[in-house]
């Protein structure tokens, strides 16, 4: 198998998209996708950590001793997660409030540790960067898709971004008389819609 940059990037978008193909990183996928905005926010934060940790792990792969590699990965990942958390607090505080505990929990997101162990530790910096970007974008898009399904049916809205004064997105898509399925924005709705989305992915195939 030839390893090209485009190949490594594209595989994360469809063939190995983390939550829907590898079925990894489901905790944030299920928990925060009440709205598209939350999904995108979580996805971008995860993608940021993934890209940075992939680059650093791959750059240090010849220095990190094999026996303590997991501990080293965790230090690197935890540092970047804290960076992401501080930056979110400083610049997108409402998003930080709605994601809450799930931002520090990015540390234990198995997509990130998985890519560090399975890819970045064995490949060069540029390839790892492409891999991290692809996986990150794929993760963000899956979360946004799941968030769209849940928010559309559960709240009849699609919010892309909320500022202090206005909301960017579509409101009341099915008209004001549509009665939203509140079930969809609650936890069981997350499982049902993720299940259906997985089913759809399998039907479509590669």
């Amino acid at each position: 198998m030839t390893k090209t940059l485009t190949h490594e990037f594209v595989k994360g978008l469809w063939k190995e998209v983390p939550p829907l193909r590898l079925v990894l990183g489901l905790c944030p996928t299920l928990a925060v996708t009440k709205t598209v905005e939350n999904g995108i926010g979580m996805g971008v934060a995860t993608a940021f950590v993934l890209v940075c940790s992939n680059i650093l792990v791959s750059a240090l792969r010849n220095i990190i001793p094999h026996q303590v590699r997991i501990a080293c990965f965790i230090i690197i990942i935890a540092a970047f997660v804290t960076v992401a958390e501080l930056l979110m607090q400083a610049y997108t505080y409402p998003l930080f409030l709605s994601l809450g505990i799930f931002i520090p929990l990015i540390v234990v997101n198995c997509v990130i540790l998985g890519r560090a162990e399975a890819f970045a530790y064995k490949n060069g910096v540029m390839l790892s960067l492409a891999d991290g970007l692809g996986m990150g974008v794929g993760f963000t898009l899956s979360l946004a898709a799941l968030g769209a399904v849940r928010e559309l049916l559960g709240a009849n809205n699609l919010t892309i971004w909320t500022t202090t004064t206005s909301v960017i997105g579509l409101q009341e898509i099915f008209g004001p008389s549509f009665q939203p399925f509140t079930f969809m924005v609650e936890a069981p709705g997350a499982f049902v819609s993720l299940g259906l989305l997985l089913c759809l992915m399998n039907l479509v195939g590669d």
Binding site: P65, Q67, I75, A79, V83, L86, L87, Y91, Y93, P94
Partner: protein, 197 residues
């Protein structure tokens, strides 16, 4: 042996480096995070408590050193006089500290209003302390000088149903605010004079 040393060295260097980066980033973002918290968490509570003030309480703030801690006070002007301050105190709740913003009129030592700011209480039970105006409005008009308690403990405040611990925490925070107020009142009066000029 060599392996051991490399392991120790690599882990130490990595941890030290990450620690240093995070500490400096924390310092760099601290001021901005505080502004954001004022805007999104404490701001709304202060605005509700000091409703009708003729000034912007978030802009008109000052700090007083109380032992090792610096306490922030937000000034509210009513009828052209800066006579009300709002400040935060904490009580131990069910899931951690419950932050309570307390507004006090310094002329007659009464509470003008309270509002929960930060908390980690159970959604639907304790968390309603923040959203239920019927609960927080009970504090309005009470004297800041007395110890506040829920009715179950012989006080005047009706507890939230299903959230006795949170209700107690709010009372403890309000009582604590009273203690801070008593201690710092002379300094508060001095500071408020500056806002009247």
């Amino acid at each position: 042996m060599r392996e051991m040393i490399t392991m120790v060295v690599v882990l130490t260097v990595l941890s030290t480096f990450s620690g240093g980066v995070l500490a400096s980033l924390k310092n760099a973002t601290a001021a901005r995070i505080e502004v954001q918290q004022l805007k999104f968490v404490k701001g709304p509570a202060i605005k509700i408590i000091l409703k009708g003030a003729s000034n912007d309480p978030i802009a008109d703030r000052f700090t007083i050193k109380d032992g090792d801690t610096e306490r922030k006070f937000f000034v509210g002007k009513f009828d052209g006089k800066a006579n009300t301050v709002a400040f935060e105190s904490y009580g131990k709740g069910y899931g951690g500290d419950v932050g309570l913003m307390v507004g006090v009129n310094i002329e007659d030592d009464t509470i003008v209003g309270v509002g929960v700011t930060t908390h980690m209480e159970t959604p639907g039970l304790g968390a309603t302390a923040k959203t239920n105006p019927d609960f927080t409005s009970q504090f309005k008009g009470l004297s800041i000088k007395e110890a506040l308690k829920i009715t179950k403990d012989g006080g005047k405040v009706n507890a939230l149903s299903g959230a006795t611990i949170t209700s107690r925490a709010v009372c403890v925070a309000a009582t604590g605010a009273g203690n801070i107020y008593r201690k710092l009142k002379p300094q508060l009066v001095e500071k408020l004079k500056e806002f009247n000029q």
